[in-house]
C-alpha cells in the first residue's frame, strides 16, 4: 500500500491490511444501504498521532446530482461514488500542497473493481457536479479529531454510542460540522466505537434513537466478516437473509464477540456440541434396545396407520365444530386453575391455620378490595396489588382529564379532542382544513390522516400546554397583535425552550399557533409556569 505525502492526511489506514480495508468498506456499504442512510464513515486511529481519529474508510449512499432517480442499485455503485469522491478530495489536497500524490492505485481492490468498469473510476469528478451531501462527505475527509473532541472523539473516549438528532443545529463544540450538515440537510448523525476506531453514520432525515437500528448496523458489520473468515475454514454456509441465519452441519462456530445475534449462535453451538458428545456416549446404549417401531408386532397396542383415514374436509368441519371446546382440560389447566389459585388466595376460606389473625378484619378488607375492583376498570386481575396499581393508574388518568377540562373551561362549547363533531356549526364558525403539505411530525392531535378538520370558534381565546417528557406542545388561540408571535417565541426562549416546530396562521385578526418545543437543558419549566408566562404575553384574557 502506498503512502501519500499530503499534508495532514496519511493515506495508510491504521495499519490494517488491504483486505481488511476492503472488507470494512463492504461492511459499511452494506450497513448504510440496508438502513438507507446517507453515508457511513470509519474514523480510524491515526498511526502518527496516538489517540487522534482521522478518516479511515467511508461509503457514500446519498443523492447524487444528475442521478436524482432513485435506484436500488447494487452496493458497488455506492462504493464507486465513494471512491470517486475520495479521489477528488485527494486531488484537491494535491492541488493545495503541490506535492505529488500517488493515490490512484490505493483504492483499487481486486474484488471491488473487477466487475465494474475501470473507466468510470478513473474518471475524475468535476467538483461542480457534487450535490450538497457529497460535499459534506468530501469535506468530512479532511477532519481530524483529537481525543474527546467532537462526536467521534467523544464516542471513542467514552466507548459509548452517541446519537445526535438535529445535527444541523448542534453546537460547534459538540459537532463541528453542524454548519456543513445544515447545508447538506443532514439531520441525524450516529457515532459508535468499533474495532479501535469510530463508525459514523448520517442521514438527511430526523430519526430518533433506535436501538434496533443500531443493533442491525452492528450486526451488518459483523456479518460479512463471518462470511470472509469462514470461506477458508470448513464449509460453513452462513447465508445472510435479513436476521435469519442457517447453519450447516458444523458445530465449530467462531465466537468471541458478545452481541445479541451471537447469543443464538453460541447457544446453538453449545447444544449441538453437547449433543455430539452425548450421542457418541449413548451409541452403545441404543443398539441393544433397537426395537423396530415400524413393525407393529402383535404385542403392540397400536394399529398401523392407514392412508386416507378420513378426508381433510371432515377434519376442518369437525375442528370448527369443536373449536370452542377444544383442548378443554389443557385450557383449564393453563388458565382456569391458576385463576382459581389466585382467587382463593384473595379470599382464603379453606386454608386451615393460615390466616387466623383477625379473620373478620381480613374479610372486610377483602370486601373493600372487591368494591374497589368494581369501580376501577381492571383486566381480570383479582389480586390486591394489581387492583391497587390499576386504581393508581385510573386516578392519574382522571386527574389529567380534569386538568384538561379545566383549561378549556372558559368556553361554553369547547373543542372536543376528536375534533370531528360538526354539529355545532353556525355562521360564526370557521372550518379550517390543513392540507397535506405539513408533515406529520407537526401534528399535535391524535388524528390520523393528512387533512384535518378543525372546528374553531371565532374570538375564543384558548391556551393549551402539554408536557411530554422533554417536549412541550403548545396551542395558542388569541386575537392577533403586532409582534405577538415574536413575543411568544421570546417567552419560550426565556423559559429555556427551543421551538422546533411552529405552525401558525392568522385569519381575521385571530391567530392560531401550534408549536412544539424542547427544553434546552436540564431545567424544566412546569406547565403552570409556561401557561402563566404565555398568558401574560397574549394579553391575559382569561
Amino acid at each position: 500500500m502506498s503512502l501519500t505525502m499530503a499534508d495532514g492526511g496519511v493515506e495508510a489506514v491504521g495499519g490494517r491490511s488491504k483486505r481488511q480495508n476492503s472488507l470494512l468498506r463492504k461492511q459499511l456499504a452494506l450497513a448504510v444501504r440496508s438502513v438507507q442512510w446517507n453515508y457511513a464513515i470509519f474514523w480510524s486511529s491515526s498511526l502518527t498521532q496516538p489517540g487522534v481519529l482521522e478518516w479511515g474508510e467511508g461509503c457514500y449512499n446519498g443523492d447524487m446530482k444528475k442521478r436524482k432517480k432513485s435506484y436500488e442499485s447494487h452496493y458497488k455503485h455506492g462504493l464507486q461514488r465513494s471512491k470517486q469522491l475520495r479521489k477528488l478530495y485527494l486531488s484537491m489536497l494535491e492541488g493545495d500542497s503541490g506535492t505529488t500524490v500517488s493515490t490512484t492505485h490505493v483504492e483499487h481492490n481486486d474484488d471491488d473493481v473487477h466487475s465494474c468498469g475501470d473507466s468510470t473510476t478513473n474518471m475524475m469528478l468535476p467538483p461542480d457536479d457534487l450535490s450538497d451531501e457529497e460535499w459534506y462527505y468530501l469535506v468530512s475527509m479532511s477532519y481530524v479529531f483529537s481525543p474527546s473532541q467532537c462526536l467521534p472523539g467523544r464516542a471513542s473516549a467514552t466507548g459509548e454510542t452517541i446519537w445526535l438528532c438535529n445535527a444541523q443545529y448542534a453546537e460547534n463544540k459538540l459537532f463541528s460540522r453542524s454548519l456543513l450538515a445544515r447545508s447538506a440537510s443532514i439531520q441525524t448523525v450516529v457515532c459508535f466505537p468499533h474495532l479501535g476506531g469510530v463508525i459514523e453514520l448520517g442521514v438527511t432525515e430526523l430519526i430518533s434513537e433506535d436501538h434496533s437500528l443500531l443493533q442491525h448496523i452492528k450486526s451488518c458489520l459483523l456479518e460479512i466478516s463471518f462470511l470472509q473468515k469462514n470461506d477458508d475454514e470448513k464449509k460453513m454456509g452462513i447465508m445472510i437473509s435479513g436476521a435469519n441465519l442457517m447453519l450447516e452441519e458444523k458445530h465449530q462456530i467462531p465466537l468471541g464477540i458478545s452481541d445479541e445475534d451471537l447469543h443464538y449462535k453460541r447457544t446453538v453451538s453449545t447444544v449441538l456440541n453437547y449433543s455430539v458428545d452425548r450421542s457418541s456416549r449413548s451409541d452403545k446404549m441404543i443398539h441393544h434396545r433397537q426395537r423396530n417401531l415400524a413393525s407393529s408386532d402383535p404385542g403392540s397396542s397400536f394399529l398401523r396407520w392407514k392412508q386416507c383415514e378420513q378426508p381433510n374436509s371432515d377434519v376442518v368441519q369437525k375442528q370448527s365444530d369443536l373449536q370452542p371446546q377444544s383442548q378443554n382440560v389443557l385450557r383449564k389447566m393453563l388458565y382456569n386453575v391458576p385463576l382459581m389459585m389466585r382467587t382463593k388466595r384473595m379470599f382464603p376460606t379453606q386454608r386451615s391455620g393460615m390466616n387466623q389473625d383477625d379473620p373478620s378484619d381480613r374479610r372486610k378488607e377483602n370486601e373493600k378490595f372487591s368494591v374497589l375492583r368494581t369501580m376501577v376498570p381492571t383486566v381480570n386481575e383479582v389480586d390486591k396489588e394489581s387492583i391497587l396499581n390499576n386504581t393508581i393508574k385510573y386516578l392519574q388518568e382522571l386527574e389529567a382529564r380534569v386538568e384538561e377540562l379545566e383549561s378549556c373551561m372558559g368556553s361554553v362549547n369547547f373543542v372536543e379532542r376528536q375534533r370531528k363533531t360538526t354539529e355545532n356549526l353556525n355562521d360564526s364558525v370557521l372550518i379550517e382544513e390543513t392540507s397535506g403539505n405539513y408533515d406529520d411530525s407537526t401534528k399535535i392531535d391524535e388524528n390520523s390522516g393528512e387533512t384535518e378538520q378543525v372546528t374553531v370558534f371565532r374570538d375564543k381565546t384558548h391556551l393549551r400546554v402539554k408536557l411530554k417528557e422533554t417536549e412541550v406542545v403548545i396551542e395558542v388561540r388569541c386575537s392577533y397583535r403586532d409582534y405577538i408571535v415574536a413575543d411568544i417565541m421570546e417567552t419560550l426562549s426565556n423559559l429555556h425552550m427551543d421551538a422546533f416546530s411552529v405552525r401558525s396562521h392568522t385569519l381575521n385578526k385571530f391567530l392560531t399557533l401550534n408549536l412544539k418545543a424542547k427544553f434546552r437543558g436540564a431545567a424544566v419549566a412546569s406547565v403552570g409556569m409556561i401557561k402563566r408566562e404565555l398568558r401574560r404575553v397574549i394579553g391575559d384574557l382569561f
Binding site: 435469519n244 403392540s300 375442528q319 393453563l334
Partner: protein, 344 residues
C-alpha cells in the same frame, strides 16, 4: 381412593388400564425400579378437580404381568390440581432407592417416596417470591437430566425460575416472555426453551441471561403455544403445539422461524406430545380426537405431508401423554378418569 383398579385389560389386549375415581391429568414415570416385592415401576398420577383438594396417587406397574395397581399408602393430598409431575432423573444420585417426585401447582413441591414404598414425605415447598407468601401459579416445570439439581419452572407471571433443589434456593429468575409462559424444556445443562401465550418459542442460555433467541413464532400472531417437547436424543429438534390447532410443529433449532415439519393428521386439537426416549426420529401425540399417533420423521417429507406410523384410539379425548424413558416400550396416556399404558 381405595377402589383400586382391577388388573383388567382394556379393549385392546395389550393395553393396561387404571381406573381412577376422579379425572386425571398429570402423570409421571419413575426411572427407578422399586425395591420391594411388587417389583414394578412407579407411576404417579395427579387428579384434576377444579378445587383446592386434589390428590396424587402412586401406582405400581409391572410390565411382565401387565398389571397396574395403586399403592394406597402412597396416595396423598395435593393443593390444587398438579399441573405437572415428574420423578427425579436417573442422573440424580440418591442415597436410597426411594424416589423423589416434584409437583407444580401453586408452588413447586418436592416429595420423597421412601424405599419400601410405605410413605410419602413432603420435603420442601419452594416459593420463589421474596416479598409475598405466594408465588405466581406455575404452569409447568422441567427437571434437567444433565444437571439434576437444576429444575426450571415457568409461570403465568411471564417468568421462568431456575431452582437449585439441593440447596432449595433460586438460581435465577428470568422474565422470559411477554405473556404467560406455558411450558419449559431443558436442552442441555444450561440451555432451556420455553413457550408462551405470546406465541413464541424462545431459547435461553444461563450464561447469557440478558438475551434470548426466538426460534419460532406462531403464524397467527398471539396464538398461544401450549406445550413444548425437546428431543433428548437429537437436540436439534423440538416439537410444540398451538392452541386450537391439530398440528404438531417440529422445529429445528438451527433454522429458526421455519418449522421443519408440521404433522397434521389429527382430526382435532392436539393436547400432548412426547418424543421417543430411545429413538431420535419418533414422536407421539395425543389429542381431542381420542387418538394417539406415533410418527416417524423422515429425512425428506413427501408432497402430502407426513403420515403417522401407527394409531391408537382411546375412549375419550386424550389429555396427557408420557413416554416412559426407563421402559421405552410403553406409552402412558390419560383420558377422562383413566390412565392407560400402551405397548408400542
Amino acid at each position: 381412593m381405595d377402589n383400586s383398579a382391577p388388573d383388567s385389560l382394556s379393549r385392546s389386549e395389550t393395553a393396561v388400564t387404571y381406573d381412577s375415581p376422579y379425572p386425571l391429568y398429570a402423570m409421571a414415570f419413575s426411572s427407578l425400579r422399586a425395591a420391594n416385592t411388587s417389583s414394578g415401576h412407579r407411576i404417579a398420577v395427579g387428579s384434576f378437580l377444579e378445587d383446592y383438594n386434589n390428590r396424587i396417587d402412586i401406582l405400581s406397574f409391572d410390565s411382565d404381568s401387565m398389571t397396574v395397581k395403586p399403592l394406597p399408602n402412597l396416595s396423598f393430598e395435593h393443593p390444587y390440581p398438579p399441573t405437572k409431575l415428574m420423578f427425579s432423573p436417573p442422573s440424580l444420585r440418591r442415597p436410597s432407592s426411594g424416589d423423589l417426585l416434584a409437583s407444580s401447582g401453586d408452588f413447586l413441591r418436592l416429595w420423597e417416596i421412601n424405599e419400601d414404598s410405605s410413605t410419602v414425605e413432603p420435603i420442601s415447598v419452594l416459593n420463589n417470591s421474596k416479598t409475598s407468601e405466594f408465588c405466581a401459579p406455575l404452569t409447568s416445570f422441567d427437571w434437567n437430566d444433565v444437571e439434576p439439581k437444576r429444575l426450571g419452572t415457568c409461570s403465568i407471571d411471564t417468568t421462568c425460575t431456575i431452582w437449585d433443589i439441593e440447596k432449595c434456593v433460586v438460581e435465577t429468575q428470568l422474565i422470559a416472555h411477554d405473556k404467560e409462559v406455558h411450558d419449559i424444556a431443558w436442552g442441555e445443562a444450561r440451555v432451556f426453551a420455553s413457550v408462551s401465550a405470546d406465541g413464541s418459542v424462545r431459547i435461553f442460555d444461563l450464561r447469557d441471561k440478558e438475551h434470548s433467541t426466538i426460534i419460532y413464532e406462531s403464524p397467527q400472531p398471539d396464538t398461544p403455544l401450549l406445550r413444548l417437547a425437546w428431543n433428548k436424543q437429537d437436540l436439534r429438534y423440538m416439537a410444540t403445539i398451538l392452541m386450537d390447532s391439530n398440528k404438531v410443529v417440529i422445529l429445528d433449532i438451527r433454522s429458526p422461524t421455519m418449522p421443519v415439519a408440521e404433522l397434521e393428521r389429527h382430526q382435532a386439537s392436539v393436547n400432548a406430545i412426547a418424543w421417543a426416549p430411545q429413538s431420535c426420529k419418533h414422536i407421539c401425540s395425543g389429542g381431542d380426537d381420542t387418538q394417539a399417533l406415533i410418527w416417524e420423521l423422515p429425512t425428506v417429507a413427501g408432497p402430502n405431508g407426513i403420515d403417522p406410523m401407527s394409531v391408537y384410539s382411546a375412549g375419550s379425548e386424550i389429555n396427557q401423554l408420557q413416554w416412559s424413558s426407563s421402559q421405552p416400550d410403553w406409552i402412558g396416556i390419560a383420558f377422562a378418569n383413566k390412565m392407560q399404558l400402551l405397548r408400542v
